[in-house]
Amino acid sequence: MIQYKNVTKVYGEDVTAVDQVSLDVNEGEIVVLLGPSGCGKTTLLRMVNGLESVTDGDITFNGESIKDLNEIELRRKIGYVIQSNGLFPNMTIEQNVTVVPTLLGWSKEDKKKRYEELMELVGLDAEDYRKRYPHELSGGQQQRIGVIRALAADPPAMLMDEPFGALDPIIRERVQDEFLAIQRELNKTILFVSHDIDEAIKMGDKIALMKDGQLMQYDKPSQILQNPANDFVAQFVGKDRMVKSLTIHRIEQLMERYDLLVSSIEKGEIATVSKSSNLRDVLSYILESKQQAVHVVDENDEVIGQVDFALVNQYMIDLADSNEPVVNP
């Protein structure tokens, strides 16, 4: 849906912010642009909706070159989310949320209805917030409003520039989960800038890792973690990359390859985890409970077996051997 073709951005005479980047963002995917500050990830994002010009190369949106599209109309078709300060302080929450529909000339009734739908989507009370102003909201609430403002006119694509960067870790985790749940329903095409490898692994269907304006590796998170393309990627993802990669895999996926161990232990004797838990959490529970294994329970809270360290280890070794692309949750 969004295609970068040999895109280059040069500031002034000779500062190359983005250097010959080519990448395809498929419909319905979240692609995380990841890298240290100054690597050109934000510039790359902002070129899509014309907030930065393209020096050389081309970007297409739905097959059309953005150079041929009207900038203002293009921006209204692409949701845009930045850190929480991006809400307009002079507008009420309702006015903020419906700003794009207002620009598009929707009727009052349609805007009101849309506002209420969107507030429900993020679990905020529409009436309660209608007449309130951004400064009266907490950081987490502001960020939710920022996200639904971008969704208001139901754009096919969204650009998100470190949208959760200003939130404290606990709130960030929660807003990320909420956003992923929303995305599973809406299937937007999303470009997402982050400098945080953990966030990238969690949010991304694919990760584009950048350094000094160049694309280092563009792949699924599991591949980036397990098969880093070069030293920079290996260093950026960290020495604990195998532990990080455990977060991508869930017990359900492990169960597709192996049967769970039959448990002879009474329920309640050892820790229990749900079968949708990721393997990193499983190891953490095993270590925390000072036992050899944990019980796995299904949706009905029935014990369906147990997982121990050896089984997780076996699974990861097999994956690495088969080098099979892993489906990301």
């Binding site: 300060n85 809400l87 307009f88 302080p89 002079n90 794009v100 620009l103 400064h135």
Partner: protein
Amino acid sequence: MGNSESTFWRVIDYFQNNIDWILELTVEHVVLVGSAIIVAILIGVPLGIYLTTNEQLASTVLNIAGVIMTIPSIALFGIMVPIFAVINQGIGFVPAFVALILYSQLPIIRNTYTAIHNVNPQIRDAAYGVGMNTWQRLFKVEIPNTIPVIMAGVRTAVVLNIGIGVIAAFIGAGGLGILISQGITRGYHEMIISGAIAISILGITADLFLRFLQRLLTPKGIS
């Protein structure tokens, strides 16, 4: 002590005896300063906004406005006389009106320029990002969020001009300056003091009114 007390009563007497005339002069003063300020806003605010798009011109214009303010007011009014004499308007309303407009440009242009220039870049970025055009960005986001700073410039200009408007009397444009200029010529202290008091009251009233207006215009979300 007795002397100053009697001066006080004589000023009160003067006010009572000449209230109609003083009110008439006040109206003249308000019309002169008010019309000059309206025109000054119409020039200064758009100019201040435009300057945010042209950095080079901005420093030039702000410097010129700064230089105008350093010209002693009586000299500026004096310069206007021969200039407007060319079109037979050498004394009276026109030269005073123009001098007051020039005088009030600096606070209005500078505050508007600074306010718009310093709009939180993330908010401006968001305005671009949601697809606002230049006018929408200006009227829906940038101006509403900078009303307090722009209004502070207008208030400064108004209070300044009410004071400087006194000089208008010396070039035949009337206003409360008449009380002072005639009082000086005639050595009539009560008249001078009455004029000064009337001007102070006018200045304070105007400032209070503008504060109220500012509160009314400022969006609730940023107050």
